[in-house]
Structure formats: structure tokens, C-alpha cells
Point group: C2
Chain length 151, copies 2
């Protein structure tokens, strides 16, 4: 089986998963630092999705880290398909959450620009972190999808 960089069990995959975990956690942190987020559906949605992405990516980061340490790739087609589908769904949801948050922040900035700069910059950082998390997630998903036909 080809050792494709970025697929499950490689060092690149471990780095991508770690990045995903860190960016998702940062996004959740910046979003929920205040309590104002539950006024907007998009922000609640973002918090929900990040609450799904963090355990998923953290678990897979642990699996990758273990594979890198013991230098053994444990790839079964069934598990790989579950990982690809899970990554796919979560990356779509993350992108949706990031776009929704970014556009709501944009509306808030224009409609009430006076009080918003205090909190809107936090929401903006949160959306940016979610975009970075989406980038890592879709990259791992593509690398693993590429691997499926060779199994």
C-alpha cells in the first residue's frame, strides 16, 4: 500500500489533525467567551459544530500519533470509509458554520457599528479559525479519499 502523505497514520495527517483540533478549539473559545452568542442562530450553530469537530479530530490525532510512534499503519477499508465520510460531513458543516458566522458579523458591523467593535472582532477571529479548521479537515478528507481506490 502506498504511503500517501496526509492519509491516516502518517506524520502529515497527525499535523493536520492537530491543527484542526487547535483551530476548532480556538474558534469555540473566541465565540463563547462572552454569553451574547446565543442571540444568533448562526453563532449557536457554530458552537454546536465545533463541539462535534473537536472530539472527532482529537481522537483521530491520537490514532495518528500512535501510528507514527509504533511505525505501523493500521488501515482497514471499512474504517477508512467511515473516516472519509465523517471528515466530509464535518468539513461541510464547518464551512457552513464559518460562512454563516462571517456573514452575520458583517451584518452586525454595518447595522450597529457603534457598539459592535467590542465583540465583533472576537466573532471575526472565531470565523477565521473555523475557516482554518475547515481547510485542515477538507485536506485530510481529500487525501484519505484518494487512498480508497488503492485498498
Amino acid at each position: 500500500m502506498a504511503e500517501l502523505p496526509g492519509s491516516v497514520g502518517t506524520c502529515a495527517s497527525f499535523c493536520l489533525r492537530l491543527g484542526q483540533t487547535i483551530f476548532s478549539s480556538a474558534s469555540l473559545l473566541f465565540m463563547s467567551m462572552g454569553v451574547g452568542f446565543y442571540n444568533y442562530t448562526a453563532f449557536c450553530y457554530m458552537v454546536t459544530i465545533m463541539g462535534l469537530v473537536i472530539p472527532w479530530s482529537f481522537t483521530l490525532a491520537m490514532v495518528d500519533g500512535y501510528s507514527v510512534m509504533v511505525k505501523r499503519l493500521t488501515r482497514q477499508p471499512g474504517i477508512l470509509i467511515i473516516i472519509v465520510v465523517g471528515d466530509w460531513v464535518l468539513s461541510i458543516l464547518t464551512l457552513a458554520a464559518a460562512c454563516s458566522t462571517a456573514s452575520v458579523v458583517d451584518v452586525l458591523l454595518y447595522s450597529n457599528g457603534l457598539y459592535c467593535p467590542k465583540v465583533c472582532s472576537r466573532y471575526q477571529v472565531s470565523a477565521a479559525m473555523a475557516f482554518l479548521s475547515w481547510f485542515c479537515s477538507s485536506a485530510t478528507s481529500l487525501f484519505n479519499l484518494w487512498l480508497i481506490p488503492s485498498l
Copy 2:
């Protein structure tokens, strides 16, 4: 070469492309029927993306229709990769536009519910059409991506 339903040049692909064209046109129409859309970045973004998706999907629908009529599949790896990448990028942009529009409509409905029902339902339909267009676009992209390793 396997005749995968949904890949370039098949009848299923023609139907998906046609659906994509119709949904994108409907989305653009519902969004730009009034002139109020340019007050919000998300709505302008949606109009821009739909202006890109419509010619792309219409052209590929024509190509698929021609292939179905003459019963000949003209698949070159280079062209297929361009189609997959183009579909991919456009489907991500469509999803982003649909989510942004939906979340902005949600904010508008809650913040000024009195005057919004007149126009907000139009924007809601536009977002729904964009979601359907995204669904068709990502389906064709996945089918064609699946075909690439067999070339």
C-alpha cells in the same frame, strides 16, 4: 472505461447539470427581483457566485446533452480534471453563498420582523435554491472524481 452513472457524458450527468442550471437561475432571479440585495455583502456575493455557476453548468449541460445524443463519451483525463476542480470550487462557493444568505435572512427576520416578511421570503427561497444547486454540483463533482483513478 466503466460507464459510471453521473459522470461526464451520461444521461444522469445531463439531468444533474440541468437541475444545477435551473436552481441557480431561480436563486439569482429570486435574489435580484428587488433592488434591495446590494445592501448586504452576503446577497451581493450570492449574485456573483450564481453569475459564475449558471454559464458553467449550462455549458456542461450542453456538452452532456451532445454526448448523450451522439452516444459517444469524449473523456480526456486533462479535461476531466478541469471539470472536477471547477465543480469542486464552484460547489464550495455555492455552499458558502447559500449559508451566508440563509444566516443573514435569519438575522433580518429576528431583528426587524415587521417589514421583513415582504422580502425575506424571497431571500429564503433564493437560499433554498442555492442549496439545491450545491447538492447537484457536489454530486457531479463526486461522480467525476470517482472516475479519475480509472483513466
